[in-house]
């Protein structure tokens, strides 16, 4: 247990460092960010390992559920090519939540589903489930991006974990998102998630305003990374976790979500053909972040 708490704490600190590095004078330092990302990954692995076993089962169920729901969703390259969701706790199967790709959306329901089943499971469960959900949705075509997204998602997932692990928080909100809920949130862009309210809303408020307008509609599914996080909390709220507590970590994640979205969009040349909207939002994000991304993206990508 101590490991988990420690790992979670280290993950939060690491994310804080990555975030702060964006505003440091002299640009982003590749070496330091690489080291921080390695620590982040180690901590995440430790963190997830504990829950892996318990989640497997629920993940399986979640995956099936997701598949049914989102077969044709805008899923995209986000999902790193890991088709094997369960076996891989870290990395591949991680949901690439960046950009709020549909994957995220998919995950939310998956997570929710899982939540319901596995009461009280933490984010690990979440992440795993997400992974499984995502993996199904992933298209193989985007493997390069997938890896990128995978990376990002890994980070994102971590962030999610962070969010979720917040014990005290207030959030009972875990986003118990229903499938429809998933659709609503685009962490990045959407200010107003008509569908799913609070959780995404809190995050979206912080989203980049520029893309928002465009991003909102086309892809309701862009769940932000946070959503999965919320889900994790879910023990309590299976149903509608509306409130997204804007804790520091949450905002951090939101911001990361935006960054990562931008990163992904700029990283991936091609958008999934199935998702026009994604492309649009991707483009927007890309434009937003492009000028900041060059050194930053290398650091991020390295994650």
């Amino acid at each position: 247990m101590e490991y988990k708490v420690e790992a979670h704490r280290i993950m939060s600190i690491s994310l804080g460092k990555i975030y702060n590095s964006r505003v440091q004078r002299g640009g982003i330092k590749l070496h330091k960010n690489l080291l921080v990302s390695l620590v982040l990954r180690s901590a995440r692995q430790v963190y997830l390992r504990d829950y892996y076993g318990g989640i497997c089962l629920s993940a399986q169920q979640a995956r099936e559920w997701c598949e049914g729901e989102y077969m044709d969703s805008e899923q995209d390259k986000l999902v790193p090519g890991s088709t094997e969701s369960l076996p891989e706790s870290d990395g591949q199967s991680e949901v690439a939540v960046d950009k709020g790709e549909p994957i995220n959306v998919v995950e939310s329901p998956a997570s929710l589903d899982v939540e319901s089943q596995a009461s009280g499971e933490q984010e690990h469960a979440e992440n795993v489930i997400l992974d499984s959900g995502c993996s199904d949705l992933k298209t193989t075509e985007e493997s390069p991006e997938a890896s990128a997204t995978c990376e990002v998602s890994n980070v994102v997932t971590t962030i999610s974990s962070n969010c979720i692990s917040d014990p005290s928080p207030s959030n009972p909100k875990e986003a118990t998102e229903t499938p429809t809920d998933c659709q609503t949130d685009d962490s990045e862009s959407v200010e107003e998630n008509s569908h799913k309210p609070k959780v995404p809303r809190a995050y979206t408020n912080r989203k980049r305003s520029a893309d928002d307008s465009e991003l909102k509609d086309p892809l309701p599914k862009r769940t932000k990374v946070i959503s999965p996080l919320l889900i994790s909390k879910n023990d309590e709220n299976k149903g509608e976790t509306e409130e997204m507590d804007t804790s520091n970590v949450s905002s951090l994640i939101t911001i990361f979500g935006s960054s990562f979205s931008g990163l992904l969009s700029s990283e991936d040349g091609a958008q999934p053909d199935s998702e026009v909207e994604d492309s649009d939002s991707g483009q927007i994000c890309c434009d937003q972040m492009l000028k900041n991304l060059n050194p930053w993206s290398t650091a991020i990508v390295a994650f």
Binding site: K17, H31, L35, V39, S42, K291
Partner: protein, 443 residues
């Protein structure tokens, strides 16, 4: 070893009376020139200060060659990369002297993106008696000139001037972390996180890339280059260290692009010491060839290792610098101290290694006697001409008198940069914004 302290406190801040240090005054590099006559320091504000050793005089035998300020100049200015919307810091990352070939001194100084070659020269004569302008420099009316004269060189007060002779720019996408002058005195290399470029000292518009470890897919990036140095005797050999704790030796004769190393020096990780931060503390922050060229020292966060170029599998010697920090890695990670890049240096005879630590401590390891000493560079504890007292950090349990406990170490006072005179036992230690120069005891 006994040390006599000859303290120089160089504080470039305008507010000399205050105790806090302005960030621009923080010394970021220290380097002796090949003869040891000059000592250069670079700071975060982009300035270079050069000290010159006094000539020993019979009148004052006890003042055995103290270092005085010789020249100060602004080497780099803050810049802005408009394309990436990034500010380029003016902090001097490294200074390297060129061997002296005439009356002037040359040094290379670099910030994150640009290397500059500076010429430091003395002027003690000036021409007087121009025809077309008068002594003030104003142009004379040609119609008033009735006779011609030849300008004559008249003595003047010694003036030391620094002029930039070459600017090597636009060759690095990532941050430059080291430069190294080749023993052929014609070329040098500059190293950033992912690439090493070879330059000719005369040519500024072209450089050759000799090492490129950037992966095609940046997502696969796992290690970066942290330092590089040319072998002091062979102009075709150089080494570079990585963030994963490995050192690669490359031979430029083998191919134009030295991505394939000739030797790989790596020590397998001790699995019992595995933690979240294992990767960070194994990242090498500095690598230095011995003067003989046969050995290397590398500095990672907790140790200094001596490597024999003929043995790649493990280091010859490993010295623990501050192993008591191993249990505190998490807090050091939080306050960013774990990312500090300590440097290490050899003495002139390659028998002693020196490196810095926290609380303004620095450590010396004698390779022959296997003895080590911890010394402190601070104003309170050192008066000029006083002998430095060895310090000790108490690791736990009962703290003896004069010992410092690990918890009371001041982690904001770190000695990252040190230099050792090439032939004598004179060391320069940079403690934040202060420079300390210590000499061997004179009997």
């Amino acid at each position: 070893m006994d040390e006599e302290i000859d303290t120089r406190k160089i504080n470039n801040s305008f507010l000399r009376d205050h105790n806090y240090a302005t960030e621009a005054d923080i010394i970021s590099t220290v380097e002796f020139n090949p003869t040891g006559e000059l000592l250069a320091t670079g700071d975060k504000g982009g300035r270079v200060v050069v000290f010159q050793r006094e000539r020993e005089s019979k009148n004052q035998p006890h003042r055995r060659g103290e270092y005085n300020v010789y020249s100060t100049f602004q080497s780099h200015e803050p810049e802005f990369d408009y394309l990436k919307s990034l500010e380029i810091e003016e902090k001097i990352n490294k200074i390297r002297w060129l061997p002296q070939q005439n009356a002037a001194y040359f040094l290379l100084s670099t910030n994150d993106k640009t290397v500059k070659l500076w010429k430091v020269s003395e002027r003690d004569k000036r021409p007087e008696g121009y025809n077309l302008k008068d002594e003030d420099g104003r142009i004379r009316d040609p119609t008033t000139i009735t006779a011609l004269r030849v300008p004559v060189l008249q003595p003047m007060d010694l003036m030391v001037e620094a002029t930039p002779r070459r600017v090597f720019s636009n060759a690095h996408t990532y941050h430059i972390n080291s430069i190294s002058v080749n023993s052929d005195y014609e070329t040098y290399m500059s190293t950033d996180d992912l690439r090493i470029n070879l330059w000719n000292l005369e040519i500024t518009n072209r450089s050759f890339n000799i090492v490129d470890i950037k992966p095609t897919n940046m997502e696969e990036l796992t290690e970066v280059i942290t330092a590089a140095e040319f072998q002091p005797n062979q102009c075709n050999t150089f080494v570079y260290s990585s963030s994963k704790g490995s050192i690669r030796l490359c031979d430029m004769r083998a191919s134009a692009l030295c991505d394939n190393h000739s030797k790989l020096f790596e020590e397998p990780e001790d699995p019992s010491n595995r933690s979240f931060f294992s990767e960070i503390i194994s990242s090498i922050s500095d690598v230095k060839f011995s003067h003989s060229g046969r050995y290397l020292i590398t500095r990672d966060y907790l140790t200094v290792k001596v490597w024999d170029l003929n043995m790649e599998s493990k280091p010859l010697e490993t010295y623990q610098v501050h192993d008591y920090l191993r249990s505190k890695l998490c807090s050091l990670y939080e306050n960013d101290c774990i990312f500090d890049k300590f440097e290490c240096v050899w003495n002139g005879s390659d028998s002693v290694i020196m490196t810095g630590s926290y609380n303004n401590f620095f450590r010396m390891f004698d390779r022959n006697t296997k003895r080590d000493v911890t010394l402190e560079a601070s104003r309170e504890n050192s008066k000029p001409r006083a002998i430095l007292k060895p310090r000790k950090v108490c690791v736990g349990g009962k703290r003896r008198k004069d010992e410092i406990s690990v918890d009371s170490l001041d982690f904001s006072k770190k000695i990252l940069h040190t230099a050792w005179h090439p032939s004598e036992n004179i060391i320069a230690v940079a403690a934040t914004n202060n420079l300390y120069i210590f000499q061997d005891k004179v009997n």
